[in-house]
Amino acid sequence: MSKLVRIAKNEIKIALREKLVVSLGVLISALLGIALFAGYLSYKQQERTIIRTQDEKRKEWLGQGDKHPHIAAHYGTFAFKPKTVFSMFDFGLDTFTGTSVYLEAHYQHEFMFRPAQDHSSMIRFGELSGALVLQVLLPLLIIFLAFASFTKERESGTLRLLISQGISFRALAYGKILAYLLMLLVLLTPFLLGVILLSQSGVDSDALLDMGTRLLFLLLLYSSYLFLFISFSVWVSLKSATGRNALLTLLTFWIFFTMLMPKALANMGESFYKLPSMRLFKTQIQHDIDNGLDGNTSRSVRMAQLEKEFLEEYHVDSIQQLPFNFDGVSMQAGEEYGNKIYDHHLQNLRGIFHKQNRLGSIGSLINPYLAIQHLSMGLSGTDIHTSMHFEDEVEEYRRNLVKRMNDDMAQNSKYGEFYEYKAGKSLWEGIADFSYRSPTAIKAISNYKVELASLMIWISTILVLLNQVDQKKKTPL
């Protein structure tokens, strides 16, 4: 053990002499600080506006005055996507998913206003977030720290000396890994404390469930990711003849993993599985509503059928004799049919999304950057699954709202009447305000089994490789 510590100590001393490495370290801590501060500011700004606007919309809904329930259902209300606390650390898809939606009868509106639309094309370079620094920039620092860890000793001849003193390659490697881990720990501790502090303070109501578990998972994941990068870099250095080779190899991996592969995979997904245009998507939905899913049950046929069913069930000759307003019932039936069709098309659409994203998921098996990127977004509640979960909850809320309006109309108004009947505040109050709760941490992470497997495979592979370095003829001196 003491041997390991001695090696690590020595390594740290050497690393701190490298001005370039130290300045990059300083730069990265500064960037982490800025990222966290800006992330926090932006989270606060957004959260405040969303809470305020949601309140306003609630007041508008309650104060809309007396009117026919169906008009109220069209007046509708809005849902705004809440920012999660951890979005201050990992923006994830937040810039590219819509932020609000209008909820009214008959139509499923899509989410509008993607924040990226308020930016020039520079937004496509990415935004500075803690996650970006940890996932992309920190590995570069690790490469700079570790690429020469063995090659330098080899080039200066000290490696032979060390080995001749009975120190194993393995012990050397672990000593160096320990040193780099300790240095990163020192570098990251202020940031980590910042995240914990900011995510605990000033957050009254957050949409994110299981914050503690999520934070713990994030910690674990990022530690494994950084450990992986350090060990891999040390191993490459151990296997390389010169520092120059080690550096070039590592930089090639870095570029390939963080820049080329993610983009290429996303683009391939896009090319293989084409999305329909919004116009076509909506046209098909309308077409199916008009003609029925089977293509030959038009709305009037469906309504006639419904009428017949009700007349038979209540043993009456005309809908006027029904004990409720048939208009309300037929309106709700139409609503439910429309929902069925919408669900059918939405499922197809999400199927395409899923196929497109699956490529990235499979890709994460060879690319740990993709694995950590997906997992981190998932745990921060800024990934596609949380986003879809939110959309589903909103749609559920809309359906419930519309149904309540239709039911009220059926129960309390007369057939053929419209403007004569007015509902009031008590009905509006019967609809609870919308509030969102994310899935649990376990649920969030269970969407990313492949990514988890990837990290585990990578770590076990690297451990096996490190354990084999002392076998004869495997490692150059």
Binding site: Y75, R124, L140, F147, M259
Partner: protein, 476 residues
């Protein structure tokens, strides 16, 4: 060129072709370039297909209106169709017109914001703001990942190529022990390095230009009036950008440090220009000019009169609207006829008038952001070039903001067309169908001054790097 220079270049060529690794890298970059061109084309082709599909949908819609004027109306469906075609009280909110922003030929090379913004809208006479903010379907995961288009290859990958080829131009001689040999020659070491860089500059910039020409040729007719200037700007951008990176490498080399040190510095600068600077600017602009679309969201609500049967309410709304549009004020008896339709039309038009200010204010904020960031483009020639490419390919934010403004005008044309008929109780005739409103994209004059300054910014950066490097090289 004197014989010594010739000899140096000859030997550079020999070492270059012998180094398989380098040749493979060039080939790989070429293949990436071709893939990027193909990918960009397929993305933009998909948009073109969508445009054809929706134009067809519109043609079908309007020919069924036209057809309803010919021949007798036999079924109720035919009668219904004729009503929609000829009666303004139905037509004004049912007839849908597409406003389309067709892609520029070079959009395939720099997709820019084209996958993020809508490039077509179907507008009826209904409230504009109810129709304006719907998004196009897109997978946010792919939006985040961005596009592997030619602009990406040139902006991200070519600097790496330049780094790999040049970082050890001097240090390798030192590390291989050949430096003393060079130092005893009659030419200065500085000149040898310069010639070497020039040699690689020719090869790599040549490759970048080759891929660019392939892309430009494959995407459209180079001689077309729409394409000539953009193509020239593209080429100038590529050359300036390559020159900048070579100058930067020259500067790094001039410090005569080790290969590993140079590689680290170069990789660090790549990171700075391509990730840190833009990411930092983006986060600063987000917090400095906070924008919340929540204010716009409210405008998308579909509202109507409290009670369509209440004549007083209807009249009030109509009168208020007519005060804005006195030309539509017909006689009182005409207002009485078709009152609910007129009242609803007046209501939505008033709503647009009232919310117009909010939308304009919002767009001004977006423009303010974009102006602020533009002021810092010089910090990174990469950001600068990306903006230039997007400008050339008309896939930048400005193009889409312009499009939005044009939509507002077009919506005005549509409502003018229908409201005149609605408020004056003129039925729509078959002849009117040859006079329908149609969308015209406002002519955009290419901002040559802006382009020039943005090229100059990168050029000046390149020059400074080169000069400092030159002095440094000479002094040692």
């Amino acid at each position: 060129m004197n014989t010594i220079s010739k000899t140096i270049l000859k030997y550079e060529w020999k070492t270059f072709v012998r180094n398989r690794y380098q040749v493979v890298m060039l080939l790989a970059s070429f293949v990436f370039g071709l893939y990027a061109i193909y990918y960009g084309q397929s993305e933009i082709d998909a948009q073109r297909e969508t445009i054809v599909t929706i134009t067809d949908l519109e043609d079908v819609e309007f020919s069924s209106y036209r057809d309803s004027f010919k021949g007798a109306l036999e079924s109720s469906a035919q009668e219904q169709m004729h009503d929609i075609a000829s009666r303004p009280e139905f037509a004004w909110f049912r007839h849908g017109y597409h406003a389309i922003l067709p892609p520029h030929d070079y959009a395939a090379l720099a997709i820019g914001q084209r996958d993020l913004f809508r490039y077509y809208y179907r507008l009826t006479g209904m409230s504009l703001h109810y129709q304006l903010f719907e998004n196009e379907l897109a997978n946010p995961v792919n939006l985040l990942a961005g596009n592997f288009d030619l602009s990406f290859v040139l902006i991200y990958l070519f600097p790496l190529l330049i780094i790999v080829f040049c970082y050890s131009s001097f240090s390798a001689e030192k590390e291989n022990g050949t430096l003393p040999l060079l130092q005893v020659q009659s030419v200065s070491i500085g000149k040898i390095i310069l010639l070497r860089l020039l040699f690689y500059f020719t090869i790599i910039t040549g490759l970048a230009l080759l891929i660019s020409f392939i892309g430009l040729f494959a995407s459209g007719d180079l001689l077309d009036a729409e394409n000539r200037i953009p193509a020239i700007i593209w080429i100038l951008g590529v050359v300036t950008y390559c020159a900048f990176w070579f100058a930067l490498l020259f500067l790094i080399i001039s410090f005569r440090k080790s290969s590993a040190f140079n590689a680290m510095i170069a990789a660090g600068l790549w990171l700075l220009f391509l990730i840190v600077v833009p990411a930092l600017l983006n986060i600063i602009v987000t917090t400095k000019y906070p924008l919340s679309s929540t204010t716009l969201a409210g405008l998308t609500r579909r509202t109507g009169l409290e009670n369509e049967n209440d004549e007083n309410e209807s009249r009030e709304v109509i009168m208020e609207f007519l005060s804005h549009e006195p030309g539509l004020a017909a006689s009182d008896s005409l207002i009485h006829h078709n009152m609910p339709a007129k009242a609803y039309a007046a209501f939505t038009a008033l709503k647009d008038i009232n919310s117009n200010q909010e939308v304009t204010r919002y767009n001004l904020e977006v423009e303010k952001r974009s102006r602020w960031t533009k002021g810092f483009h010089w910090l990174s020639p990469s950001v600068n070039l990306q903006h230039l490419f997007a400008q050339v390919a008309k896939t930048d934010l400005e193009t889409f903001l312009q499009f939005q403004k044009a939509l507002t005008h077009f919506h005005g044309d549509i409502t003018d067309f229908y409201f005149e008929k609605l408020f004056w109780d003129h039925p729509i005739q078959l002849e009117d169908y040859s006079n329908l409103p149609s969308f015209k994209i406002p002519p955009t004059h290419s901002n040559l001054y802006g382009v020039g300054t943005s090229l100059a910014k990168s050029g000046v950066m390149a020059l400074i790097a080169f000069l400092v490097g030159f002095i440094k090289m000479k002094n040692q």
